[in-house]
C-alpha cells in the first residue's frame, strides 16, 4: 500500500484502481462517494467538537480564568457532555409555525457548509473535488447559508426571531461581496481559480508575502469580512445575548439548535481554511528564499500538519477579535461594508492588477 504522507495522490490512485478492478465504474463512483461522505462527516463532527472546546478554553484564558477543567483531564470531554445534553433536550414544538420550513432550516445551513468543505485541499492530493473553478464554487456554496438563516427566522413565528433573521440576512449578503472581491485579488495574482493550482503557485513563497501590499490589504479585508459573514466576533449583533433575544435561532431547541451552533463553528473553520489556502500557502511549508537548510527542515513536517497549523492560527485570530472588542451596531456594520470595505476592495483590485501586469511581485 503506497502511503506517502507527503503526497496523497499515490494513495488515492491506489484505492481508485483497486475499486475499479473489483466492480463496474458506476459502483466505483458510488463507493467512492460513500467513503468520502463518511470521512468528511467524521471530520466535520470531530473538528466541530474540538473547536467548541478550543473556543471555551481560549476565551477563558483571555478572561483570566481556567475554562472547563472538570469533565475529563483539562475538560476535554466537556463538548461531548454538552452534545449528549443537547440530544436529550425536549424538542419544543412551536404553535403556528411553518413546520416544514422550521425543520428544514438547520439542514440547509449544515448542507451549505458541508458542500464547501468538499473543495478544500487538505494536503497534496487529499482533495474531495478539484474543480477548476474551485474558489468560485466555495464562495457560491457558502452563500447558500443565508437561505437557512432567513427560513429559520421566518418560520419561527416570533417577532424577535424575525428581526434577528433580517439583520443577519442583510449582514451576510452584504459581506459576501467583500469576501468575493478580496479573493479575486488573489486570483489575479495566481492566474487561476483552481485551488490546487493556487497552492502550487505558492511553492516559492506564500501569497501574502509575494503579493506584498495589495495581498496584505486583501488578507485584512478578508478576515474582517469573513468574520462578519459567519456572524461571529464583533459582528454578532444578530445573536447577541445582551440585546433582545438569541436572534434567529431563539425557538430552536435540542438537536436543531446543535445544528446551528455546529454550523457556525464549521463556517468559521471553512473561512479560516480558505484564508490559509489562498493567503498563507495551504499545505505548503514555510520556505524562506534560498535558505536550503531551513527549507529542508520545514519540508520534513508533513503538509497536512502545515495546513492544520495555519488554519488554527487564523481561527485563533478570529477568536481573539471576538473576546476583545465590543459589538458593532447594525447600521455601523452595514456602513463599514458599503462605505469602507467595498471601495477599499475595488481600489485594491486595481492596484493588484497593475502590479501583476508590471511584474512587480515576487
Amino acid at each position: 500500500m503506497p502511503f506517502d504522507i507527503y503526497d496523497f495522490t499515490s494513495f488515492t490512485k491506489w484505492i481508485d484502481t483497486g475499486l475499479q478492478n473489483s466492480m463496474s465504474p458506476f459502483w466505483t463512483i458510488v463507493v467512492e462517494m460513500l467513503i468520502i461522505g463518511v470521512l468528511i462527516l467524521t471530520f466535520y463532527a470531530l473538528i466541530g467538537l474540538f473547536l467548541v472546546y478550543a473556543e471555551r478554553k481560549v476565551c477563558a484564558f483571555m478572561q483570566n480564568r481556567l475554562g472547563p477543567n472538570r469533565v475529563g483531564p483539562f475538560g476535554i470531554f466537556q463538548t461531548i457532555a454538552d452534545l449528549v445534553k443537547l440530544l436529550l433536550v425536549e424538542l419544543i414544538p412551536i404553535k403556528n409555525a411553518d413546520k416544514f420550513l422550521f425543520n428544514l432550516a438547520p439542514f440547509i445551513v449544515i448542507i451549505a457548509s458541508f458542500m464547501a468543505i468538499a473543495a478544500i485541499p487538505f494536503a497534496k492530493g487529499l482533495h474531495a473535488i478539484d474543480l477548476n473553478i474551485g474558489l468560485f464554487y466555495v464562495i457560491a456554496v457558502s452563500a447558500m447559508g443565508v437561505i437557512g438563516v432567513l427560513l429559520a427566522g421566518w418560520s419561527s413565528n416570533n417577532k424577535y426571531s424575525l428581526i434577528g433573521a433580517m439583520r443577519s440576512g442583510a449582514q451576510i449578503v452584504s459581506y459576501e461581496l467583500s469576501v468575493g472581491l478580496s479573493l479575486i485579488t488573489v486570483v489575479i495574482l495566481a492566474g487561476s481559480m483552481q485551488l490546487s493550482e493556487i497552492v502550487l503557485a505558492q511553492a516559492d513563497g506564500w501569497f501574502i508575502f509575494k503579493g506584498h501590499i495589495p495581498a496584505f490589504i486583501a488578507f485584512i479585508v478578508f478576515l474582517v469580512a469573513s468574520t462578519a459573514e459567519t456572524n461571529r466576533g464583533p459582528f454578532d449583533l444578530a445573536e447577541a445575548e445582551s440585546e433582545l433575544t438569541a436572534g434567529y435561532h431563539t425557538e430552536y431547541s435540542g438537536i436543531k439548535f446543535a445544528f446551528f451552533f455546529l454550523a457556525e463553528y464549521m463556517n468559521m473553520f471553512i473561512v479560516a481554511s480558505i484564508a490559509a489556502t489562498v493567503f498563507l500557502g495551504g499545505w505548503m511549508p514555510f520556505h524562506v528564499g534560498h535558505w536550503d537548510g531551513f527549507n529542508h527542515i520545514m519540508d520534513f513536517i508533513p503538509p497536512f500538519i502545515w495546513y492544520i497549523l495555519k488554519t488554527f492560527f487564523v481561527i485563533f485570530l478570529m477568536m481573539w477579535f471576538k473576546w476583545t472588542f465590543p459589538r458593532l451596531r447594525i447600521d455601523q456594520l452595514l456602513t463599514l461594508e458599503w462605505k469602507y470595505l467595498l471601495p477599499i476592495n475595488l481600489v485594491n483590485i486595481l492596484i493588484m492588477s497593475f502590479i501583476v501586469l508590471m511584474g512587480w511581485h515576487y
Binding site: C59, S242, L244, I330
Partner: protein
C-alpha cells in the same frame, strides 16, 4: 381604505416590545416597555416596583440605629455611603462632635466604595456592549477591595460599619497597608481598562453622540452624580456641602461639557482616579483617637426636620428625617439618585436605536433596589 388601515394599526404603526423584568442588560428587575418604529426608539416607559420593600414605611417603626441596616440594602453598591448619610443626619440633629479619626476613616471607606462601584459599573457596561472580557477584568480587581472590606467590616458588600456616633469597631491593623497596596496596584491596572475600552474605535462609535443630555435638562430633571457632571452640572456634594473629611482633601470635580454616553463613561473613569488621590492624601495620616462617641442607649432626636445630602457613586442621596421626639422617626424619605436618573431615560433615548438604549441605560448606571426602595 387608508383610514381603516390607520384605525387597525394605530397612527404610527408602532411596534411595542418588552424588555422584561428579567433581562441581562437592565441590571436588575426593571421592565422597559419600548415603542419602536423599525429600529428607532419612540418611547421608553419604565415599570418599576418589583423590589419595593416599603423601606420608608418600615423606618417609621424601627429605631435610628436600625435604619442603618436598611439603607445598606438600598443602593447596595454604595452601602457605606448610604450608612454614612443616616449617621451624619442623626449626629447633626443631636449636635454631637465626631472625633477626627472617625471622619477620616469614613472618608477613606467612602472612596473605596466609590471605586468599587465604578469597577462593577465598568464591568457590566463593557459586557452590555459586547466586550465580555471587560466583565472579568473589572470584577477581578474589585475582589481586592471586597477583601479589604471583609477584613475590617465583616461584610463584603453589605457593610453596616457606621453607627450614630462613629464606627462599629476600629479598623483592622492590616487596613492601611492593604489599602496602600491596592492603590498602587490599581494605578498600574487602570490604563489597561483604557486600552480595552476607552480608546477602542468600535466603543467610541457606539457611545459618541448617543443619548445627549443638555445642562438645562440635567438641572431640571435633577440628574446628579457622574451622569449630571458629564453634562456640565456642577453638583458634587463633596465640594458644595462638605461632610466628614472632604473639606481637608484636594480633589477635582470632574466636569465635561458634552453630555453624551462617552462622556458619562469618561466621568466615571476620571472619578476613580480622583478617588485614588483622595485616599492617598488620607491613608498615611489617620489621626489617633476613639473610634466612636458614647451615645445614649435609646436615641431620640429633638423635634424638627433634618436633611442630609451625601455623594454616592450614582449621585446625590438625600435623607430627610422628620422627628416628633420619639425613638422612632415620624417620617423618613430617601431621595435616591437612581430614581431621578431613571426619569431622564425616556428623554435621551428618543430617536436612537435599540442597541443604543442598552448603552444609554448602562451609562446612566442605576441600581434597581435604589429606585424601588
Amino acid at each position: 381604505m387608508e383610514e381603516t388601515m390607520k384605525e387597525i394599526t394605530g397612527e404610527d404603526q408602532k411596534y411595542v416590545i418588552n424588555m422584561g423584568p428579567q433581562h441581562p442588560s437592565t441590571h436588575g428587575v426593571l421592565r422597559l416597555v419600548v415603542s419602536l418604529k423599525g429600529e428607532i426608539v419612540r418611547n421608553v416607559e419604565p415599570h418599576i416596583g418589583y423590589v419595593h420593600r416599603g423601606m420608608e414605611k418600615m423606618c417609621e417603626s424601627i429605631t435610628y440605629p436600625q435604619i442603618i441596616h436598611l439603607t445598606d440594602r438600598m443602593d447596595y453598591l454604595s452601602a457605606h455611603i448610604n450608612n454614612e448619610a443616616v449617621c451624619l443626619n442623626v449626629e447633626k440633629a443631636l449636635e454631637i462632635d465626631i472625633p477626627d479619626r472617625v471622619r477620616v476613616i469614613r472618608t477613606i471607606m467612602s472612596e473605596l466604595t466609590r471605586i468599587q462601584s465604578h469597577q462593577l459599573w465598568w464591568a457590566s457596561f463593557g459586557m452590555d456592549l459586547g466586550g465580555l472580557t471587560c466583565f472579568f477584568y473589572g470584577l477581578r480587581d474589585r475582589e481586592k477591595i471586597m477583601d479589604i472590606f471583609e477584613e475590617t467590616c465583616g461584610g463584603r458588600l453589605i457593610v453596616s460599619y457606621n453607627c450614630p456616633g462613629g464606627l462599629m469597631y476600629d479598623i483592622h491593623p492590616n487596613f492601611q497597608k492593604r489599602t496602600k497596596d491596592f492603590i498602587k496596584y490599581f494605578r498600574k491596572i487602570l490604563p489597561e481598562y483604557d486600552q480595552l475600552l476607552t480608546g477602542n474605535v468600535i466603543f467610541k462609535e457606539r457611545t459618541r453622540g448617543i443619548g445627549r443630555l443638555s445642562l438645562e435638562d440635567a438641572i431640571s430633571y435633577g440628574v446628579t452624580g457622574p451622569s449630571g457632571r458629564a453634562s456640565g452640572f456642577s453638583c458634587d456634594v463633596r465640594k458644595h456641602d462638605p461632610y466628614s473629611a472632604y473639606d481637608r482633601v484636594n480633589f477635582r470635580e470632574v466636569l465635561f461639557n458634552d453630555g453624551d454616553t462617552y462622556h458619562r463613561y469618561l466621568a466615571r473613569i476620571e472619578e476613580m482616579k480622583e478617588s485614588m488621590n483622595i485616599i492617598d492624601q488620607l491613608i498615611d495620616n489617620i489621626p489617633e483617637g476613639p473610634f466612636a462617641v458614647k451615645m445614649k442607649p435609646v436615641i431620640k432626636l429633638p423635634e424638627g426636620e433634618y436633611y442630609q445630602r451625601v455623594e454616592t457613586a450614582r449621585g446625590e442621596l438625600g435623607v430627610f428625617i422628620i422627628s416628633d421626639g420619639n425613638k422612632n422617626p415620624y417620617r423618613v424619605k430617601f431621595r435616591s439618585p437612581s430614581f431621578v436618573n431613571l426619569s431622564v431615560l425616556n428623554l435621551i433615548s428618543k430617536d436612537f436605536k435599540i442597541a443604543d438604549l442598552v448603552a444609554i441605560a448602562g451609562s446612566l448606571d442605576f441600581v434597581i433596589p435604589d429606585i424601588d426602595r
